[in-house]
């Protein structure tokens, strides 16, 4: 049994067999051969090397003939790599002495070289990593180990173990079979984490190197509550976790009974409890769980899930589906928030040293109107089908807001001229996630219909911490008193100006923090669908006065840790049912 500690990013417990992915998504499980088969395994490798060698030689001759010797020499270098004495010494050691399977040894050794090359501060050499990985693939293919079985072809439940997963890779995991995942890299606020939460997949990230020691036959427990991963658990641990899994299921079942009850406090304060979604298909689940609306529809995944740019029609279809499904309930669509770690395959900006402070989100949209206009048009067109509201992300200055609104008006006029059905009287709001906007919020209050606080980015920009950087991720605390003061100020200004303000960041999905927000005067919360029932349970268990007492006390605390400990203590006292072991 091996216990690993990482960062919990999506709650829940999952138990199942390991599926180890290498960097390219190939499935090369750590596999051992019997001691007396090691020689045969090595012979198998030699045969594969001969095949690949012959192919590279053919490539070299053909390419040299067609494009000149210097181009053909690319393959000469690859041939040299394939026959590298150090490489063969290492492969021989792993196969003959450690009895590793040839495919596993090949995959590990060549990936190690590729990683070493990528780390060099020399782009020309870093690119050679691709040559090394190309050799790896060819060898794996000859060894019959490249299963060509992407994650989409699963047929039994698995826990995915990977070096890293991108948000779109995470989004494409097959929910029928993938029960949870854990990765070596990643941080708590990254978008992979958000997607995992959206898909309700228990997940632990930022574990550090561990894949090397995992056997493909291993069974794995992912504890997404505590950030723990257990490889080959012993009987007792397995029993404990099976019990926790059962307890959680029964809690989930009990909470589900709340779905038709309103989100109001014990003393009758009515709150708006909405859901955050990324995919139109999630709308149905939100309704089933009694969401009052969609408080945040993240539209980035339209861009990330496909290679080509989404067309106006792609946008329109997605938005129309959501708003129709929500049947009159409000749907807040946030415009393109791409950039930073959400970059799709298109190079929207290159060589940004500091992407979080770079060309992202509304800045990117305003700079690329060919990207932005189709989205704006689609939103106005889809508004015909229900209560759509538009929200601009990362607004920092009032002129950005004015530019975005102006573009929206221009687009509306275009639609008018073309006689396409649309609605332009939709509420326009902005995300409050940059400290500058918080400071100037009274100015913004005259020019928007609603605010929504994005606690993730607000904390990142307030604390100067990149939340997806594993080296500083621990410094990212959304309950830092500085962040809380900015939130409190925003709520005060919004309420004084009668502008609705909601909180849609990850902060609101934590029941204890949600009670704090209510105490600060927040009346609208938007959370991942999976958190709706828990939140409702928390809200219905407390009074407005209790929330206000929590807020009053918290605002006197000086560290994030004190805040979190106090909040946990209050939650235990007020809503003990939500505390699961």
């Amino acid at each position: 049994m091996v216990e690993l500690q990482g960062i919990p990013v999506s709650p829940g417990v999952a138990i199942g067999p390991a599926l180890v992915l290498d960097a390219d998504g190939y499935r090369i499980p750590r596999c051992l051969v019997a001691a007396d088969e090691a020689e045969d395994e090595y012979a198998r490798l030699s045969e594969a090397v001969d095949f690949v060698s012959a192919r590279l030689e053919t490539n070299r001759l053909e390419t040299s003939a067609a494009a000149g010797n210097s181009t053909g020499d690319i393959f000469a270098a690859q041939l040299q790599m394939l026959h590298d004495p150090r490489l063969h010494a290492e492969l021989g050691r792993r196969i003959r002495d450690d009895h590793q399977s040839a495919p596993y040894a090949v995959s590990r050794v060549l990936n190690n070289y590729a990683t070493a090359l990528r780390r060099l501060d020399n782009p020309l050499l870093a690119d050679r990593a691709e040559d090394v990985l190309d050799i790896e693939k060819q060898l794996l293919f000859e060894l019959g180990a490249v299963t060509r079985q992407p994650l989409a072809d699963l047929s039994e439940p698995v826990i995915v173990l990977a070096h890293g997963l991108t948000p779109s890779e995470t989004a494409s995991l097959d929910r029928r079979y993938v029960r949870g995942f854990c990765t070596e890299t990643g941080g708590p606020g990254g978008h992979t984490a958000i997607v995992a939460k959206g898909l309700e997949l228990p997940a632990v990230v930022g574990i550090g190197p561990f894949l090397d020691s995992v056997n493909s036959a291993a069974s794995v427990i992912v504890d997404g509550d505590r950030g723990r991963v257990i490889i080959d658990p012993d009987e007792q641990v397995l029993r404990e976790y099976r019990k926790r899994l059962a307890d959680r299921r029964s809690l989930t079942a009990r909470l589900a009974e709340l779905k038709d009850l309103p989100a109001e406090t014990a003393d009758g304060l009515k709150l708006q409890l909405s859901a955050n979604i990324e995919f139109p298909s999630e709308a149905e689940g939100c309704l089933q769980r009694g969401a009052d609306g969609i408080g945040l529809y993240r539209t980035e995944f339209l861009y990330l899930s496909s290679d080509r740019e989404p067309s106006e029609e792609d946008h329109y279809e997605a938005y129309s589906q959501v708003v129709r499904e929500m049947d009159g309930r409000p749907v807040v669509i946030r415009t393109l928030d791409l950039g930073a770690d959400k970059m799709g395959k298109r190079p929207l900006a290159e060589n940004e040293h500091n992407p979080s402070l770079g060309l992202r989100s509304i800045r990117l949209s305003l700079r690329n109107s060919n990207l932005f206009r189709p989205q704006l048009r689609a939103i106005l067109r889809a508004a015909v089908h229900g209560d759509i509201r538009i929200m601009f992300p990362l607004i920092t200055t009032i002129s950005e807001l004015r530019q975005a609104r102006m573009l929206l008006n221009v687009v509306a006029e275009d639609l008018q001229d073309s006689g396409i059905p649309y609605r332009s009287d939709i509420p326009v709001g902005m995300m409050v996630e940059v400290p500058a906007a918080v400071v100037m919020l009274d100015v913004f209050a005259h020019e928007v219909d609603f605010f929504s606080i994005g606690t993730n980015d607000l904390a990142q920009y307030t604390l100067a911490v990149d939340r997806s950087n594993e080296y500083v991720a621990n410094l990212y605390q959304s309950c830092d008193p500085a962040v809380l003061r900015l939130i409190a100020h925003s709520v005060e200004v919004a309420n004084a100006n009668n502008i609705p303000i909601s909180v849609c960041g990850e902060m609101s999905s934590n029941p204890a923090r949600a009670l704090l927000l209510i105490g600060l005067g927040v009346r609208c919360l938007s959370v991942p669908p999976s958190a709706l029932h828990r939140l409702k349970k928390a809200i219905r268990s407390v009074t407005r006065e209790q929330c206000e007492q929590i807020a009053e006390r918290v605002m006197k605390l000086q560290t994030a840790k004190d805040v979190d400990l106090y909040l946990l203590d209050r939650l235990e006292a007020l809503v003990p049912e939500l505390i699961v072991s």
Binding site: S70, A77, D84, R86, Y113, A116, L117, N122, R128
Partner: protein
Amino acid sequence: MTNDSSLSTIVVVRNPQGLHARPADMLVRLANQFDSTIKIGKGSEHVDCKSILSLLTLGAAAGTELSISAFGSDADAAIQAIVELFEAGFHEMNDDEE
């Protein structure tokens, strides 16, 4: 024949793009013509001169000083040939094809 010797010297990477794939390939091919064990490295990191992957992972850019040592019957000739290859900038000083 039994006259093994151990020699070492310092060379400088002269070709503008450093010790990338093609020069590394040439260097390995040259080293393979000799029986001697040949090590090459910078600082305390010394690798097998007959291993292209090791050479590449040195990441030696233009201007890098590398020390070369050879041990074996033809160590003398090996060092001399390798020094010449480095001096000639791997014959690609004005080569911007890659």
